[in-house]
Amino acid sequence: MSDKPKSDAERLGRILDGLAEYIRSAPGDELLEDARSEGRDPAQTAARVKGLLRQAVKSHQQKQLKKAQEDYEREVTAIRSRGIKLPQSAERRRTLLATIFTRQPQLKLAFTFQNRGFSELTDEDISNHLRKLALLGVLDEMQVTEDDE
């Protein structure tokens, strides 16, 4: 059954579609021959087309890198901007750190005390450790009550 084109654009379009179907499935050597007969050098075309594809890969990789950098910077900013609330008294801070290490003993190993016992830690050591733990989100799981602050 014939399906006549409705416009000149469609008439031309169908011719181009027919040619495209040929290009899609034609043997490669015919395409090379056609290119040469049009005065084009297939080696130059290969270099140019591969260059275009490589350029697209490079742009994509740069975009990925930029996004990773932005994500990292956003994360760092979020961590830095987080308010760290520690108990106000040195005694409560010491108790809080002791509680954390009791609940998560593996952290005690990560926060090496360089041969110093827990009791030997200064108040400043304890505050610093608690701040680091807060940045890691460990304190989120602990209840720091109003009384503690």
Binding site: A9, R14, L53
Partner: protein, 212 residues
């Protein structure tokens, strides 16, 4: 458990970036020629307005970008790289053509108004759109579209005229215009595949000359 059930094939895995890069490096001159020719063909097909100054090269790069971003997925188990990329080029061109059709008024396709501003009798700048009631398409666009249509008619007529004396080529052109594909034309007009391809190449060569 249903013992008769066929084992499910594992889902096709999308290519990694490394696999895509490897496929690019493995492209032969035949492959790149195919990509080049398909992209050029599709740009002519959608017309210069829909292409909106974009070229076949842009089309190839866009196809690659979409594949890398995962908007189009290449699964090496299902398809070879070049036929996949040709398919993506084809569909992006159709998308550009469709976008232009749906957005004729979009500034993306508009000619700067300053380029078509006229003056009134007193020399004041006057927009050609002044006084028009919510036009669907600006005058400049209408003129360019009319010009495009005229060009397309001239081109289609020229192609037909070029092959008036070439009976076989006329049959192929007629078949395409009637919506037939290659195998159907071969069957309908009694061409074998080799003859059909030779006729198509003849049309292709002459079309290039006509367009140039």
């Amino acid at each position: 458990m249903d013992q008769d059930a066929a084992p499910k094939a594992p889902p096709a895995k999308a290519a990694t970036q490394a696999e895509i890069i490897q496929a690019i490096e493995a492209l032969t001159p035949e492959d790149t020629e195919r990509l080049e020719q398909v992209a050029k063909n599709r740009i002519i097909r959608i017309g210069r307005r829909a292409a909106n100054l974009r070229t076949g090269e842009d089309l190839i790069q866009e196809a690659m970008t979409r594949s890398l971003e995962g908007r189009r997925e290449w699964c090496p188990q299902n398809a070879k790289f070049v036929p996949f990329l040709v398919g993506v080029i084809w569909s992006i061109a159709s998308e550009w053509a469709g976008h232009r059709k749906r957005n004729v008024d979009s500034p993306e396709y508009a000619v700067a108004e300053s380029q078509i501003t006229k003056e009134d009798e007193e020399g004041n700048a006057l927009s050609p759109f002044a006084g028009l009631k919510t036009p669907d398409q600006n005058i400049e666009d209408q003129m360019i579209d009319a010009e495009n249509q005229a060009e397309q008619k001239v081109l289609a007529d020229s192609i037909e005229r070029c092959f008036e004396q070439d009976e076989n080529a006329s049959y192929v052109l007629m078949g395409w215009q009637d919506g037939m594909d290659g195998p159907r034309i071969q069957k309908e007009f009694g061409f074998n595949e080799k003859t059909y391809r030779a006729i198509v190449r003849r049309i292709k060569r002459n079309l290039r000359k006509i367009i140039n």
